[in-house]
């Protein structure tokens, strides 16, 4: 499958369209705020259109994962090596993009959340130009990670995301923004450093024979997945060696920081509380998925032996995250912090589903990634709406909002119930699948994890009661209901949440082939 626009592949357009937008924004004078906003909106909307086209053209029967032939929209050329020089053979860093069933939903999610993020950034007044420049750079980084098939390229996009995120939290954030920004940066950078180490080790372990018959070291993820390509005597050669386990742990930690999995989660509540609403939306909607996506794309197929060996550890950490996140969420009286901890809990479900190494569990996990992205984005937008009007976020600061803002309350209820896992809304389907898969693999861990659902129900209902029901507060009597702009950002998410709750088939079909291939591959290679 190929699809070119002006001779350039569609994935390159998807990734670098925001950079183009960034340059446009830079050219607009800083005081023309609306022009800047509309440019950013136009660019991200265009990106969404491309993502939708890609989804429509996507061939559901092609597996991808470790087979270069069945990847779609592939673009590949040498990036760092130069053709004309004789010793080119040895280094190979590729510009290698492509998507399969694992990434297609994430690409779509990134595009959707990016547009919504721009709409919800409309009322940012501080240095609009700088804000949107960084925002668009961030979008490029996220999109790049989801389509990169070369480890080096993946790493570059992964790190490129850090810079704009750091400034977006640090400059446009709340009162403790510098603390939150630096904490976020150091955690993620530390993870990146571990990834770099493993990446270097893999580079020197993996070599394939090219057309000219030379042995070539490569960063190509697909070559790394083939155990025949590991050079004999190299550090990661063989199966179930100590070095491979060490590499697995290092790589796992670097992704787990991003997920974030207990005990690497402490940056998340700080970052969420201090970040401005649209950045929280991006953070919860897309950034957290990078961790679990990285595990599926890199950790699982490249180090399958470690994955099988450590599957109980993953499930255990998933369980702890579910329970711990839910308990912490119950204890919060800050609305935003509550959602942040609920994110940790829900990402724990993703982890649990993935760890099961079963088809249902993994499908559920990937679907949960998508659903959590949309639902949590809605929840953060919900908080943002209240915060814009009252500049308060405490759960006890509100009450009886349902009387003042009926439309708003309706939408917020849907989001909260979806997060709770109410049947008929999207959260239910994916959580159900994840637990089903996990139950096959680890009975007791799953049973304990299900307690997390009960806790979730408790804090969600409690929140609804405290914020939306009950006695209204005097000073909130004149709160205006949702404006047109706010409706525009809520309604698409609302539709997705309801649609996937009633009829999740299309989403599952998109990824099913790839995931069964992946699960089978890991199972075969690791056991």
């Amino acid at each position: 499958m190929e699809f070119n626009i002006l001779g350039i592949g569609v994935l390159t357009w998807l990734v670098f369209l925001p950079v183009l937008g960034m340059l446009l924004v830079l050219l607009i004078p800083g005081n023309n705020k609306n022009a800047i906003r509309w440019t950013a909106l136009g660019i991200t909307a265009l990106q969404l259109v491309l993502a939708v086209i890609v989804t429509c053209l996507f061939d559901r029967s092609a597996a991808g994962v470790n087979d270069p032939q069945s990847f779609q929209f592939i673009e590949q050329f040498r990036w760092i090596a130069v053709e004309s020089v004789p010793w080119i053979g040895k280094i190979e860093i590729l510009y290698f993009l492509g998507i399969d069933g694992l990434s297609i939903l994430m690409v779509l999610l990134t595009a959707i959340i990016s547009v919504i993020g721009v709409i919800s950034s409309w009322n940012i007044e501080k240095m609009v130009k700088g804000y949107f420049v960084l925002y668009l750079l961030l979008v490029t980084g996220m999109m790049g990670v989801f389509v990169a098939l070369d480890f080096f390229l993946f790493f570059i996009f992964w790190e490129v995301m850090l810079l704009p995120m750091y400034f977006l939290i640090g400059i446009w954030g709340g009162p403790r923004r510098e603390y939150a920004a630096i904490k976020f940066f150091i955690y993620t950078f530390f993870g990146g450093v571990l990834m770099l180490l493993v990446m270097l080790g893999l580079y020197f372990s993996v070599a394939y024979t090219n057309e000219a018959g030379e042995m070539v070291h490569t960063f190509n993820l697909l070559h790394m997945m083939n155990s025949a390509n590991f050079v004999e005597g190299s550090i990661f050669y063989g199966l179930d060696t100590t070095w491979r386990y060490i590499a697995w742990v290092a790589l796992f930690v670097s992704f787990a920081i991003k997920v974030p999995l207990f005990p690497f989660h402490t940056w998340l509540p700080d970052a969420h509380v201090e970040a401005p609403t649209p950045i929280s939306v991006i953070l919860a909607g897309v950034l957290l998925k990078l961790g679990t996506y990285g595990m599926l794309r890199i950790l699982y197929p490249i180090l399958p032996d470690g994955t099988v060996y450590f599957m109980y550890l993953m499930a255990f950490l998933g369980m702890i995250s579910i329970i711990y996140g839910a308990l912490c969420a119950m204890a919060q009286d800050d609305f935003k912090k509550l959602i942040a901890y609920s994110s940790i809990s829900h990402m724990g479900i993703v982890m649990l589903g993935m760890a099961s190494l079963t088809n249902q569990g993994t499908v559920g996990a990937v679907l949960q990634m998508f659903n959590h992205g949309t639902i949590t984005a809605m929840l953060f937008l919900t908080v943002g709406v209240l915060y814009d009007r009252t500049h308060k976020r405490g759960l006890y600061d509100f009450g009886g909002i349902a009387n003042q803002m009926p439309k708003y309350t309706g939408i917020a209820m849907v989001a909260l119930f979806a997060s709770l896992g109410l049947p008929g809304l999207s959260g239910f389907v994916s959580e159900f699948f994840s637990f089903l898969g996990a139950f096959d693999a680890f009975r007791w861990i799953t049973i304990i994890s299900v307690i997390g659902i009960v806790l979730t129900a408790a804090y969600v209902l409690w929140t609804i009661q405290r914020v939306f029901l009950g006695e209204g507060k005097e000073e909130h009597n004149s709160l205006a209901d949702l404006t047109g702009r706010e409706l525009v950002m809520f309604v698409p998410l609302l539709l997705i949440v309801i649609f996937l709750g009633v009829y999740p088939g299309p989403a599952i079909e998109l990824m099913n082939t790839s995931i069964s291939t992946l699960v089978e591959f890991v199972g075969l290679a690791g056991k």
Partner: protein, 476 residues
């Protein structure tokens, strides 16, 4: 004709040496420092052109095998001259605004650069010694340039005493190597068969001398004092050009004079690299003065570079050359921005906490500082990342896995202190309400070029890395 060709092989040295004398005389006759400034810029550019031409040409020795040209040596000259050129561009404004615009600066800088060029092209211990000494003596004087400021003079004294001390070690090392191998020429030292006690004592003392010059821990004590006390643009010059020169000479000595015994001294470098990286980064964490912080950060960078030296492969040496290039760009840049900020409020504006909110006042300066600092952190897509990545990759290829793990973790520590500058620039409010000056065109142009180069060589490093690899016919 033959002799003209020989002269061409040392054209940068000849041009810079002449320039130093010329600029000194120019001041005597015109009495206007401005002329000295333009003349030295001109000569620097000319020497840079000569050095670039030599880099592109073949390698070889000339002047009775006293100097070595082409390849690593001439690239070393390019590094030195790049550092010199850019720090000169920044010097005029800075010195004028701090009220110290005296023409001797330029001739001293050129004399120091002359020493560095000798150092990188040395093929013989006498030339190496002369180079290191002409460089150091000029730098002692430069450090004490502001002779009525206590800090500056103190820096000069410390630099001088420790420098003279280290000279003794270096010379003793040379003497013992001479005694054990019977020669002072680098290739002949390599050929000698006797590797007794005297040889090892000589190598040890020589290493000590070099460790002083590249400020490796525990021979780093002078670095922070000198970097803080010296005029900032001179610091930029010292931090980049002199360090590049010392490292390139170190590489040449290691690879040309001591290749056979690399198994043994590799371990010495291993240990010093660990200390330098860890201690440099840890001490940088607690600094409050930005010049001191950058000094410790440069010590840490020396540690990363020593990881490359410890790897001893051609790939590692070419990676180090790349790293030095990136290091030169980002450090001159960072010191340049510091020098710009310093020129406000009685010209003593170097505490990190002074930077509160300044990132918004002159947005371009803030962005430039961010680029340089992020490049030092080693984040893609900046040149610093590629440098660090290649050095560590080369070391892993040689099996120095634990060393690389230590290095990478140490560089993770460094994030904190680099970012703390950005925290002040962008995330604190400015309460002083001061008005920032507009930098001159040349000044901003130099900084912008540095930043663009930092980005360019981060996004598209292939050409340069392949070129540097060709010095060692490296296969990557």
């Amino acid at each position: 004709m033959e002799s003209v060709n020989e002269l061409l092989t040392i054209s940068p040295i000849v041009i810079i040496g002449f320039a130093g004398l010329f600029v000194m005389m120019l001041d005597a006759f015109t009495g206007n420092a401005r002329w000295s400034f333009y003349a030295s810029l001109f000569f620097c550019l000319a020497a840079l052109a000569g050095a670039v031409q030599n880099v592109l040409g073949p390698t070889g020795t000339s002047f009775y095998s006293l100097v070595y040209y082409g390849g690593t040596a001439s690239f070393g000259a390019v590094l030195v001259l790049t550092g010199t050129l850019f720090s000169l561009c920044l010097s005029k404004d800075y010195l004028e605004q701090t009220g110290n615009h005296i023409a001797e600066v330029y001739s001293l800088v050129l004399f120091a650069a002359f020493g560095m060029l000798l150092l990188v092209q040395a093929n013989h211990m006498i030339v190496l010694f002369l180079g290191i000494e002409s460089m150091s003596i000029a730098l002692y004087a430069l450090a004490g340039l502001l002779r009525d400021q206590k800090k500056s003079v103190e820096a000069a004294l410390k630099y001088f005493l420790l420098g003279a001390f280290s000279t003794g070690f270096l010379l003793y090392g040379i003497a013992l190597l001479y005694g054990s191998t019977g020669s002072l020429a680098l290739p002949e030292i390599a050929e000698a068969s006797d590797k007794g006690v005297m040889y090892w004592a000589g190598v040890g003392l020589l290493f000590t001398g070099f460790f002083f010059k590249v400020s490796a821990v525990p021979f780093h004590m002078w670095t922070p004092d000198v970097y803080q006390g010296s005029p900032t643009t001179v610091t930029a010059f010292m931090a980049t050009a002199s360090k590049s020169a010392a490292f390139v000479a170190f590489i040449l000595v290691l690879s040309r004079a001591l290749p056979d015994t690399s198994q043994q001294w590799q371990e010495v470098l291993w240990i010093f690299a660990v200390f330098t990286m860890v201690i440099g980064n840890l001490l940088a964490l607690v600094q409050e003065n930005i010049k001191r912080m950058l000094a410790y950060s440069s010590i840490a960078h020396a540690g990363y570079i020593m990881v490359g030296l410890a790897a001893t492969s051609g790939a590692a040496y070419s990676a180090v050359l790349y790293y030095l290039f990136a290091y030169t760009l980002m450090n001159v840049g960072a010191f340049g921005v510091v020098a710009y900020y310093e020129c406000h409020k009685n010209c003593d504006f170097t505490e990190i906490k002074n930077y509160a909110g300044l990132g918004f006042k002159k947005p371009i300066m803030g962005i430039l500082m961010s680029v340089f600092l992020f490049s030092m952190v080693g984040i893609p897509p900046f040149a610093g990342f590629i440098g660090k990545y290649r050095v560590f990759a080369a070391a892993i290829d040689e099996g120095l896995i634990s060393l690389v793990i230590i290095g990478v973790l140490a560089s993770a520590i460094s994030v904190y202190y680099y970012l703390s500058v950005l925290v002040y620039l962008y995330m604190k409010e400015d309460e002083t309400g001061m008005v920032m000056k507009r930098p001159s065109t040349l000044y901003s142009l130099a900084l912008i070029i540095l930043a663009l180069l930092t980005i360019y060589f981060g996004v598209h490093p292939g050409l340069l890395t392949d070129f540097l690899g060709s010095f060692y016919s490296v296969t990557w």
